[in-house]
């Protein structure tokens, strides 16, 4: 059986490595000169920036990505974040469990109830997380904490995510634990996956852009530099581009439906620090900042991500549709100065990276739940547009790949 994978992003590489291991003859096409897509390192003066994702895996080694990497035999160490997360409120940092203590007795009871409801998982309608919360409590700080969480992990406001999705995600956090840092960053994972792929006999073609997916009987014909024939095609190019590539074979309604999906956008600011500004390897949520949703400092787990003795801090903020990008960046930078009074003394901004349009945070917002199976049998989608309910970020991508593989195995 011959499998073609379009795009060597995290989803494409995971699918390719799995298929190669299962005995498929796999060929991966990547249009860029490097593998990893939005999940690899950008070495900038010894600091390991990234092409997209933060160097963090939402459920450490225990989530779908950690599990899949282990099953593949990809040698990636994931260091659990310690603490998992802190919340900076009125200049002080609190753990999740400490948050109720910030409120009045009446609100404290309500918040304890919300935390229990998030744990037990109760939301049936399609309401947003924000309106679900509003039914339980009227407190601005609670809404800000919710926005910082969804902004950091999904690049959405609480009003833009279904409550169901957040509840399912919280359940997974309670079950599997919070984030971890992959040693070597995103690039460490990408490198390990390419090694697995190649050791299983798979091929990775860089600088080869696919221009069309056609069908000849049941077989697929993929046109890049030359035309080749495959039994299945797994596309990591995103639903929109896939629909364009396969316009001859996909129904028009499907192409129209996926063309309406609007991705989630965000801004990441990478900062070089002469000393540790957070001092831990977890997430610092910043609910009271003007724009920034959260920050991490991965060098507290893996010092090799910055030159010796220095630290690498990254902030993330959601970018609203149609917002003035330069102004949003300015507000993010102002937040950093406000959050760290010694910013000027110890820190230097390395890069401001915006993710939107054709290179977004997520090609489909969390809660979309697009199926990896397309209307054409044998053509599948993977990547950040195909995340099953309850799975966020890179663990969502791995869970989507798991689902795609189930479809593939059922078909062949």
């Amino acid at each position: 059986m011959r499998a073609c994978v379009i795009g060597a992003g995290l989803g494409g590489l995971l699918a390719a490595a799995n298929l190669a291991k299962e005995g498929f003859e796999v060929e991966v096409y990547e249009k860029l000169p490097y593998a990893g897509g939005r999940f690899t390192n950008l070495d900038y003066r010894g600091y390991q920036l990234s092409t997209g994702a933060l160097h963090m895996i939402p459920h450490r080694e225990r989530g779908p990505l950690g599990r899949m990497l282990r099953q593949l035999g990809a040698g990636v160490e994931i260091i659990p974040s310690q603490p998992q997360a802190m919340f900076r409120i009125a200049g002080k940092d609190y753990e999740y469990e400490e948050l109720p203590s910030l409120f009045s007795l009446r609100d404290k009871l309500k918040i304890t109830k919300i935390i229990a409801m998030l744990k037990l998982g109760k939301a049936t309608s399609d309401e947003s997380y924000r309106s679900w919360l509003e039914k339980q409590i009227k407190n601005e700080l609670v809404f800000k904490i919710a926005d910082s969480f969804t902004g950091w992990s999904l690049s959405l406001k609480a009003s833009e995510v279904p409550a169901k999705e957040v509840i399912a995600q919280t359940k997974n956090i309670n079950k599997l634990g919070g984030p971890g840092i992959p040693v070597g960053g995103c690039g460490g994972v990408t490198r390990a996956l390419v090694e697995v792929l190649q050791s299983e006999g798979g091929e990775l073609y860089l600088k080869q852009k696919v221009i069309a997916i056609k069908q000849n009987g049941r077989a697929f014909e993929v046109v890049a530099k030359e035309k080749r024939s495959y039994d299945i095609v797994v596309s990591n190019a995103g639903p929109k581009i896939t629909a364009e590539l396969a316009q001859e074979i996909l129904p028009r309604e499907y192409a129209r439906a996926v063309s309406r999906i609007k991705g989630a956008a965000g801004i990441k600011i990478s900062v070089a620090c002469k000393k540790a500004m957070l001092g831990h390897s977890g997430v610092l949520f910043t609910p009271e900042a003007e724009r920034i949703n959260g920050i991490n400092e991965v060098t507290n787990a893996d010092p090799s991500l910055a030159p010796q003795g220095e630290h690498l801090l990254m902030s993330h903020q959601r970018l609203a549709e149609g917002a003035d990008v330069k102004r949003e960046i300015e507000l993010g930078l102002k937040d950093l100065h406000r959050l760290f009074p010694e910013f000027k003394k110890y820190c230097r901004v390395l890069a401001v990276q915006v993710y939107r349009n054709s290179w977004p945070v997520n090609r489909a917002p969390s809660g979309t739940h697009l199926s990896p199976a397309t209307p054409v049998e044998g053509l599948y989608l993977v990547g950040d547009a195909v995340k099953p309910e309850g799975w966020m970020e890179t663990d969502g991508i791995a869970a989507g790949v798991e689902e795609a593989l189930r479809h593939i195995r059922a078909g062949y």
């Binding site: 897509g37 990008v325 330069k326 960046i329 915006v354 290179w359």
Partner: protein
């Protein structure tokens, strides 16, 4: 300058080579409607000619026209100018 921009592509390349050989800089062009500001190009530039703040900008004085950024841009947003 305006007349130069009207030259057909092949002649334009010749002109570019001539100009760069004579110490005048031409540089890569950022198509702002395509550039998202992801900065994937920035670390690859051997001449540190790229700064990114919402959108990539190429310093014409520093750019040596090597074209690496064209290859590394995920959004096909950089062209030979």
């Amino acid at each position: 300058m305006k007349r130069l921009l009207c030259l057909p592509h092949s002649k334009m390349q010749v002109t570019q080579k001539y100009l760069s050989r004579h110490g005048r800089s031409w540089s890569m062009l950022v198509r702002e409607e395509r550039c998202v500001g992801c900065a994937a190009c920035m670390p690859f530039c051997p001449n540190e000619a790229i700064t990114v703040y919402g959108v990539a900008e190429i310093d014409r004085e520093r750019c040596k026209n090597c074209g690496l950024c064209v290859a590394y841009c995920p959004n096909d947003a950089i062209e030979e100018g």
